[in-house]
Amino acid sequence: MLFNWPAEKWCDFYFRIADEAPVDTVCVGEVVCLKRWSFFEPFVTDVVERLQSAGKEVVRSTLSLIMDARDLESVRAISVDESHLVEVNDVAALTLLAGRPFATGPMVNVYNEGTLEFLERRGAKRISLPVELPRASLAALAGRSKAELEVHVFGRLPLAISVRCFHARAHGLHKDGCQFVCGEDADGMSLTTLDGTAFLRVNGTQTLSDTYANLVCELDELRAMGIGRFRLSPQDVDMVAVARTFRDVLAGSREPQAALDDLAQLAPGIAFSNGFFHGIEGVGRVGPLARAE
């Protein structure tokens, strides 16, 4: 969950995922801006318990840009509880997890087997690969990996992180007095070009794609390569239904093309993309996605 939703909506989202979504693992934690975390922190214990009692594995996410002692303390606080796997999103967190198994998120740069093998030796159990990797790189890494590999298959692509808050800047505010304006945009603040084309989404200090990545038609190929984990990034749509759709395709009970139609209905007005997987610009559409336009 990358967005600043009202705490009640945030909790309800995870409770519903716990009760209804056919997913194996749920990542919980603030990835973008520590300032928001105080809204959610009081509810984390309940959310984690609910997810675990529903049989979900909980992974604790950490910040993607660690700069000061407070940021680092947030990782340390999460790391003391050794019952969860921690997802590293900034290399700084590695030093705190020395000697322990860990996961890495898509903002940690694992582009090649040299880095993959180094992190495996350091205890990486699971690696969520960078979103820009094309099919050939994914296949090469999957062929060498001892860690479980994961690929982002649904949701806006995390494209950049900054120290500057663009949400605050768009509202004429400074980050230190941001009034939490990022909470106004549950699916990110739309950024359009001067000729009116939807382009990006701003989520505080993070910049995301306007398109939702959608690799539902590539799941079989990903699985054949040896990639066994598929990441759904929560958006402000019915994520339980999205998860069911992906699960049905993996189970062979729904054809990818039909699933694509289902997902288009679940995310009305949203453009999908799968260009990165196919080795072209990330916003691009190849195969059934292109034909669905």
């Binding site: 660690i66 700069m67 900034d90 903002m107 740069n109 880095t115 790189s137 500057r164 910049t207 610009e281």
Partner: protein, 329 residues
């Protein structure tokens, strides 16, 4: 007299290297002519023979040479990156500048005596991150990402056993370096993979009446009126619409210039200053390096800094101190 800050200057071509050496650089940085370095633009960088000759020229003048091998090696194709590190070592480079964990691991094992610097593209923005690279690979210097305030830089310098190098002049980084794929989202090519951001091959300009539209790939990045200077369509410098308002949401067309902050950077324990601009020509390099040479020496003597107007050389003719002041965040 305090020890002067080391002046690390860009050498995009052999000509620029000579200009930087002549203008008073302590150190130059450069890259091979391929996708192993993060300024892989047409007409830039060094062939093997050019790099050997450039090294000899710099060393003859007492100037150090750092070789940037700071993109992320492609899966199943480590050869070009390993060769770049091997050749830099064989030619006698004073250090290589690396970003990738796997490549740093290779360099450490294959060339235990080669000095390693951590590229800004690794985005090591905290003491813990720097300690990781120091402990694992013996990194001797880190180029700090352009996200830190002076106070944060000072705090880092008090706790890490590693030299720090900071950007003082040139193009601004808005996003954390090495962690931005905006360019490949639009063009399929990114700084991390092939060493280019908003590549010229995907840039085009369209005239619409008296307006000029700049595009990268399929997206309009800016529209310029007849009286406006036309900028290059780098994605994070574009004009977009958010909340019904048109603005340079990420950053105004501006350049980093921290020349007035040299005494503060010295007090913060910084070792070296980096001037951005391997894509710049000889005249630019001569002028900027010369101005900074005089300023660095004046700062070391505790004298007032010579006032030099570098504004004509900056993007959009405006300047910022960027993240060094928290007001920018």
């Amino acid at each position: 007299m305090a020890r002067p800050l080391e002046l690390v200057c860009p050498a995009g071509t052999p000509t620029s290297l000579r200009a930087a050496v002549a203008a008073g650089a302590d150190t130059v940085y450069l890259g091979f002519r391929d996708s192993t370095n993060a300024r892989n633009f047409p007409g830039l960088n060094f062939s093997r023979p050019e790099l050997e000759a450039g090294l000899a020229h710099a060393h003859d003048h007492g100037v150090k040479v750092l070789v940037a091998v700071n993109t992320y090696p492609e899966a199943d194709n480590p050869g070009p990156w390993h060769r770049a590190v091997d050749d830099a070592a064989a030619f006698g480079a004073d250090a290589v500048i690396l970003a990738d964990i796997g490549l740093a691991d290779y360099a450490r094992r294959a060339h235990p005596n080669l000095r390693l610097h951590l590229s800004v593209q690794a985005s090591a923005s905290s003491a813990e991150s720097i300690r990781f690279y120091h402990h694992e690979f013996g990194i001797k210097r880190v180029v700090l990402p352009r996200v830190l305030t002076i106070a944060e830089i000072a705090a880092i310098n008090q706790t890490v056993p590693v030299e720090t190098e900071v950007f003082v002049f040139g193009a601004m980084g808005i996003m954390a370096e090495g962690r931005c794929v905006l360019s490949s989202y639009v063009t399929g090519q990114s700084p991390n993979t092939v060493g280019v951001c908003s590549p010229p091959s995907h840039v085009h300009y369209e005239e619409e009446g008296d307006r000029l539209v700049s595009k990268l790939g399929d997206f309009t990045v800016d529209v310029f009126g007849a009286d406006e200077p036309v900028g290059y369509p780098t994605l994070c410098k574009g004009r977009f619409v958010a909340c019904g308002r048109t603005s340079h949401l990420f950053e105004d067309p501006t350049s980093l210039n921290a020349i007035d902050m040299l005494p503060e950077l010295m007090d913060a324990g910084v070792t070296a200053l980096k001037i951005e601009g391997r894509q710049r020509g000889r005249a630019y390099v001569s002028r900027v390096v010369g101005v900074f040479r005089r300023a660095v020496d004046a700062a070391a003597r505790g004298e007032a800094l010579p006032v030099a107007d570098l504004r004509a050389l900056t993007e959009g003719q405006s300047e910022t101190t960027g993240a060094y002041r928290r007001t920018w965040h």
